[in-house]
């Protein structure tokens, strides 16, 4: 493995001001609140959590679609949060994103060839004449046919569109791709096709992934490590087997027990840790652990201070009640 992480996120915060009028009290949504993590070259880091936990905001902040409120994002040692203009463009060449909805993320007025070629035109990759040949090669890599080049997105199914998105992302030979729920809009038999494609591409090109999804079965399948987010905080981080089979944080345990298992005997026998209530609003959260209102083990201390992410044998967890 390389000697330093490809991306190092340090105390990253992304807050959104949602105050509706001048006369209202300031309303801040802390979408990402003090998250630190490293992503190594060629690895897949899975990020799970419920809607509103900040996993997508974190992904979007890493590519600087959202501006971070505080904290640093180091890419190979260089802080990218201060980048502007050409330098930012250069950074975005290496860091790409695949979105959830393959219907919304492709321009319906452009042909598949134009869609895949556009990033190369923008970043002046290779000679203009060589670009079309590269488009054909990319189509082959993602499992589409060369004659698809002149077709429009509406002629393709959801799974094929996601392949087009992947081809466009690969056009720049990125080092790191953020996959934001890339399979959740697809049918089951197509999901497996896309997951295998992503794995093959990674093996051949050595790309690192941040794989954001709520389907923990799939996340466990594709990831080397898994991070769990709750209300803007990273509450647990560890190898995929450690997090799945030996979860430490009470939230992770409840989340995992809620997954329906595709096995009728084990699935029906499963004892679930039912969480009471729902995700609280991230508007002006009270101090202390964000999970304490739903936590079966909460103590007085949980209401006072936010637990730090601590390491226990290579497995990180933010909870006061876990013994070292």
């Amino acid at each position: 493995m390389a000697d330093r992480p490809y991306i190092s996120i340090q105390h990253l915060k992304t807050y959104f001001d949602v105050t509706r009028s001048l006369f209202e009290k300031r309303q801040i949504v802390k979408a990402v609140d003090d998250v630190s993590l490293d992503i190594w070259p060629g690895e897949t880091l899975g990020l799970v959590g419920e809607s509103g936990c900040g996993k997508s905001s974190l992904g979007r902040t890493i590519v600087m679609i959202n501006k971070p409120t505080a904290g640093r994002i180091l890419v190979e040692g260089e802080d990218v949060t201060a980048l502007r203009g050409e330098a930012l463009k250069r950074f975005r060449r290496d860091v790409q994103m695949i979105f959830q909805d393959p219907y919304a993320s492709l321009n319906p007025r452009m042909t598949v060839g134009e869609i895949i070629r556009e990033p190369m035109d923008i970043h002046s990759i290779s000679e203009p004449d060589a670009r079309d040949a590269r488009v054909v090669e990319l189509l082959r890599i993602v499992g589409l046919k060369p004659d698809h080049i002149r077709r429009y997105p509406h002629e393709f199914s959801g799974g094929q569109r996601q392949r087009i998105s992947i081809a466009r992302t690969l056009a720049l030979n990125p080092r790191f791709i953020i996959c934001d729920e890339p399979i959740s809009a697809l049918d089951v038999s197509i999901q497996a096709q896309i997951i295998n494609l992503l794995k093959n591409v990674q093996r051949e090109m050595g790309i690192a992934y941040l794989f954001i999804a709520h389907d923990i079965g799939m996340v466990k399948h594709i990831s080397d490590r898994i991070g769990v987010m709750y209300l803007g905080h990273l509450v647990e981080l560890g190898s995929s087997d450690d997090v799945y089979f030996k979860p430490l944080h009470p939230y992770t345990r409840a989340l995992l027990s809620a997954i329906p298992i595709p096995d009728p005997v084990a699935g029906k026998a499963r004892r679930r840790t039912m969480l009471q209530g729902e995700l609280p609003t991230p508007l002006n959260p009270p101090p202390g652990c964000p999970f304490r209102q739903r936590c079966p083990q909460a103590t007085a201390r949980c209401g006072e201070t936010m637990p730090e992410l601590r390491e226990i044998q290579g497995h990180w967890v933010a909870c006061h009640n876990i013994e070292r």
């Binding site: 089951v188 999901q191 595709p262 699935g267």
Partner: protein, 341 residues
């Protein structure tokens, strides 16, 4: 199979007439539901799973037509053909829906009317189908809200849908569905829009309600995990056809149809050792011109010449397990051949 059946569907065939031509959405589908059981209906988008349910309830879109088939509900023939005219059919269906048959939809926000209070929406089906007074209906509504686990119902009943979270809205829809103690609940992807922890709450609630009310439930879903943890029996649909049906264990542990097997190898059971996913190549057939034979023929690795030409008959693998695949015929012939030789 169970001698008493709540719902019996025979040879249901549904077409849609569109500008591009006729879409053969459901083709010759037969199955039944016993009282108190949970039947899973699994298939990809466009496999005909929702359309077959809408056809049963008489809720097809304007361009949809039931071309053939019979639907027996609780002993009564409720196929359109059993009625002298459209008007009497619609009247009967209106009386059944919301009373003996209820439906739970995927998206709670589009199902609920945003400008009416929860009270109005909950007591409407009660007033429509019973002789209860408004006050009695409200008492029943409060009882229903308690039953589906909505805290402080007296206060919540006066609120509007936007004041509820997704999980709470889905609970209200379940309460509306239960309002007149239905015999059959059809749940169309009831938890797809919800988060895992909320999904677990709703599934647990649905399971408990079927147990306590004795209603039968048909769960339409594409999530094999949800089916495994909820359903007693499973129907697998593909390309408008029912390709395999069996108990939960038969489908998961002894799948027979190559599509069912393919579907099961597309999902990762996180409890087990990671194994490579084996996706089914290709994509589902175009139902404007469905294959003449088996709908799965173009994606099936074991397809033979006959699969293209003729739809296979159902093979009885057990009293509860049926599968439509030519490979069974082939295996039988091979076995027979060995015995003769």
């Amino acid at each position: 199979m169970a001698e008493n059946k709540l719902l019996e569907v025979k040879n249901l065939t549904v077409n849609f007439h569109t500008e591009q031509g006729t879409v053969y959405a459901v083709r010759d589908v037969s199955f039944d539901v016993a009282p108190g059981e949970i039947l899973g209906l699994v298939g990809e988008s466009g496999s005909g799973k929702s359309v077959s349910m809408y056809a049963i309830m008489g809720l097809l879109a304007q361009n949809g037509r039931v071309e053939a088939g019979q639907v027996l509900f609780d002993g009564q023939d409720i196929s359109r053909a059993a009625f002298p005219n459209e008007k009497s059919y619609l009247r009967t269906m209106r009386q059944l829906r919301g009373k003996d048959m209820a439906m739970i939809f995927q998206d709670p926000m589009t199902f609920l009317n945003p400008v009416l209070t929860i009270e109005r929406q909950l007591i409407e089906p009660i007033l429509n189908h019973t002789r209860l007074t408004r006050a009695e209906a409200k008492a029943r509504a409060l009882e229903l809200m308690r039953q589906v686990g909505i805290p402080s119902p007296e206060k919540r009943i006066r609120q509007y849908p936007h004041e509820f979270s997704g999980g709470m809205r889905q609970r209200i829809i379940i309460a509306i569905a239960l309002a007149n103690r239905p015999k059959l609940i059809i749940a169309d992807e009831p938890t797809t829009a919800l988060d895992v922890t909320i999904q677990a709450q709703i599934l647990e609630l649905l399971k408990e309600l079927t147990r306590t009310t004795g209603a039968s439930t048909i769960m339409i879903t594409h999530d094999l995990g949800v089916v495994a943890s909820m359903c007693d029996r499973v129907n697998i649909m593909y390309g408008g056809k029912l390709v395999e049906t069996g108990t939960d264990r038969e489908i998961y542990y002894q799948p027979n149809h190559p599509y069912t097997m393919g579907l099961l190898s597309c999902v990762n059971n996180p409890e087990e050792e990671d194994r490579p996913l084996e996706p089914i190549p290709g994509s589902p057939p175009d139902l404007l011109k469905p294959p003449r034979g088996c709908p799965f023929v173009n994606r099936c690795e074991q397809a033979m010449k006959v699969c293209k030409l003729r739809m296979p008959e159902y093979e009885n693998l057990s009293p509860t397990h049926l599968s439509a695949c030519w490979l069974n015929e082939k295996r039988r012939r091979e076995r027979g051949g060995e015995r003769n030789g």
